[in-house]
């Protein structure tokens, strides 16, 4: 089992003809993802490696039955692309695009509240169910199919580091999700934790957070109240100075809120096994799970 995506997922790619879109579409296909369509306005009727390209998401969904979308469009068009996918009835939207203005995401978030779809990202590596379906830009090779670990993270490469250590310890993954580093995003930690809790094959969860906001604190409280499976937690940025934005738009300590220390303490107080040294997250997971 897995959460959100599996062998049945039929993917379309928005921005499939761009440089990044082409590269990562090929990587997804190579991994075994069922990519059924691409969308680039004005290039409808063409194809990319035999994958049909459409002018609009609605056309692509009608013709191919796609139920998931992977978005690579540039930031000024990111919000538009997400809303287009949602309006066309796509269930799962994964937005890789980095740099969508916050004001756009505020509107998107309220727009999506009236739709039945799930958004992952933006500014995220995507989602992968190892051995079944990869929707994103993560290197497929480092993953190991079959569980028992579910991974949820705010980062990209940091997630790869964690997954790589898990795999080297012989711990496979059910599903790995990067929820993205922006202050306003779609799926949050709690949505993913809830799904992992319900998934019988996920027997342990690794949660990777970073400084900024209070999503980790909220998730820690949720875990204590609703998650029966063991959770290993890690927070990046314990040494980051306040007031400086550490790359991700969401990673900033403002005043006394969002510090790494507060997050670590919230995790510990709620029964999460906190890993304080990234080099050890594989070993700790091995012990805990």
């Amino acid at each position: 089992m897995s959460i959100f995506v599996n062998k049945e997922t039929k993917l379309l790619v928005q921005g499939i003809t761009g440089r990044e879109g082409q590269f990562h579409t090929r990587q997804c296909v190579e991994y075994g993802t069922n990519v059924v369509a691409g969308v680039t306005p004005g290039k409808g009727g063409q194809d990319m490696d035999g994958i049909p390209v459409f002018n609009t998401v609605r056309n692509a969904v009608e013709a191919t039955g796609a139920n998931a979308s992977l978005i690579f469009v540039p930031p000024p068009f990111g919000a538009d692309a997400i809303m287009e996918a949602a309006d066309a009835g796509v269930d799962m939207i994964v937005a890789i695009t980095e740099g969508i203005p916050v004001m756009d995401m505020l509107k998107v978030k309220h727009f999506l509240a009236t739709k039945k779809c799930r958004l992952i990202g933006p500014n995220c590596p995507g989602i992968i169910t190892p051995g079944e379906c990869k929707i994103g830009i993560m290197p497929g090779k480092i993953h190991m199919a079959g569980g028992p670990v579910g991974v949820v993270s705010r980062s990209g490469t940091l997630t790869y580091e964690v997954v790589d250590q898990l795999t080297k310890q012989g711990l496979g993954q059910t599903t790995c999700i990067g929820i993205g580093g922006d202050p306003v995003n779609g799926t949050n930690f709690i949505d993913v934790l809830e799904a992992f809790e319900k998934d019988p094959d996920t027997r342990g969860i690794v949660m990777v957070g970073e400084i900024g906001g209070n999503a980790e604190e909220k998730a820690a409280e949720y875990i204590k109240a609703h998650v029966t499976k063991p959770v290993v937690g890690f927070i990046a940025g314990l040494t980051a100075p306040p007031g400086r934005r550490m790359g991700h738009a969401g990673a900033i300590i403002s005043g006394s809120s969002g510090t790494g220390q507060a997050k670590v303490e919230a995790m510990k107080a709620n029964g999460i096994h906190v890993c304080e040294n990234l080099g050890e997250i594989g070993e700790i997971s091995k012990k805990v799970f």
Partner: protein
């Protein structure tokens, strides 16, 4: 992107948000000229730097005469202003704002910002203006009014009233206050602000509402649709190495330690800084070359880090996903050939094309230490400084 108070007030004027009369000055003569044009004394002389707490640091003074404007300008211009937001090293004052003094009846706090959790624009207000608002918020949270505005609907009349009555605005100033708050909201949305803060917002003795201070932060990701605001960026207020890095789309922040580091991805970069500290050393920077870095970007990243005299060793930590290890290795080799590396460099690479990357580095003849994993890398670099 941060802007100065005087620039924020220009934006306020454009939207009809009332601010005191005043202008920015770069010299004594200019300051005295502006002061005489303000229609009377006292006037206020305010240091313009990108940091709060200027009053407590001695950067905001009242002048009773033209002569005093001169004396104070000499004192403040060129001073190294230290506030709780500048850090102990302070910031040099290169410009001042000269403004008409006001007769204050009450000082309020008002701000607009993005609330992540509700995905709304939140208006925060308090009668306890002019003070450290974080202290007010933590000690007496009931004194902070919060109103959440749905970004799809925009600000509604009842929300304006919630804030106005909550602040106990005098009835004579009510109309002006509501109009001002509505305009502030419009300004916030139209300029892609991440923060608009007025502390204090004053009610004058003759019941006028006035923004005595103004702070505006703009979402850097939205600059593509605000070409007009680009000119407000003040490179004097930024670290020269950080400015250089931004030219190459590198996310770089200069810190105090002596271990330079280059990493791909912000989360991994933060975690790498932490692991350096865990190993007993101090990170000299945050450097995220990003997912799609080119050899040229890597080369510039290494060059910028080596510009920093306090860096005694460098840790390179790459998890190749989109950024392939061979591309990265090419960048390191190019940089080393151009700039020369005369301090220890520890390299840890993993992921896409890692074997090819390792081969390129090994055959380059460069004196690099390779590490098998993160712990090993941190230990080796800490031992090198």
């Amino acid at each position: 992107m941060k802007v100065h108070e005087y620039q924020a007030k220009e934006i306020f004027r454009k939207y009809g948000v009332p601010v005191p009369e005043g202008k920015v000055a770069f010299s004594r003569d200019e300051a005295q000229g502006i002061a005489d044009g303000l229609g009377g004394y006292p006037v206020v002389v305010k240091a313009q730097i990108h940091a709060g707490g200027r009053g407590k640091g001695g950067g905001v003074k009242l002048a009773a005469s033209n002569d005093e404007v001169g004396t104070l300008t000499d004192e403040i211009l060129g001073m190294n202003l230290v506030t709780h937001q500048t850090g102990p090293e302070g910031k040099e004052v290169k410009k001042i704002l000269v403004e008409a003094g006001q007769k204050i009846a009450s000082e309020l706090y008002l701000s607009l910002l993005v609330d992540r959790e509700s995905a709304c624009i939140v208006i925060m207000a308090s009668r306890e203006g002019g003070m450290d608002i974080e202290a007010v918020a933590s000690k007496t949270p009931e004194k902070i009014i919060k109103v959440y505005v749905d970004p799809l609907c925009g600000i509604q009349g009842y929300q304006l009233r919630d804030v106005a009555f909550g602040l106990d605005i005098p009835s004579k100033a009510m109309k002006q206050f509501s109009a001002m708050l509505k305009q502030l909201y419009t300004l916030f949305v139209e300029n892609d602000c991440s923060l608009v803060e007025i502390n204090p917002l004053i009610i004058t003795e003759d019941d006028q509402v006035l923004a005595l201070d103004a702070k505006v932060d703009i979402d850097s990701n939205a600059m593509f649709r605000h070409k007009d605001l680009l000119s407000l960026r003040d490179l004097d207020e930024e670290d020269p190495q950080e400015v250089e890095a931004s030219k190459f789309n590198l996310n770089y922040i200069n810190l105090d330690g002596n271990v330079g580091n280059i990493v791909n991805g912000a989360g991994l970069a933060m975690a790498t800084m932490d692991i350096i500290k865990n190993a007993g050393a101090e990170p000299a920077n945050f450097m995220d070359v990003g997912g799609g870095a080119t050899a040229e970007m890597v080369e510039n990243a290494l060059r910028i880090i080596l510009m920093d005299q306090k860096v005694k060793a460098v840790l390179i930590n790459i998890f190749g996903g989109i950024l392939r290890c061979d591309v990265f290795a090419e960048g390191v080799v190019q940089a080393a050939k151009k700039t020369g590396i005369n301090i220890p460099v520890v390299v840890r690479m993993e992921g896409t094309n890692v074997e090819e990357g390792k081969r390129i580095l090994a055959e380059s003849g460069l004196n690099l230490t390779s590490a098998v994993d993160l712990k090993d890398a941190a230990a080796k670099v800490a031992a090198a400084v």
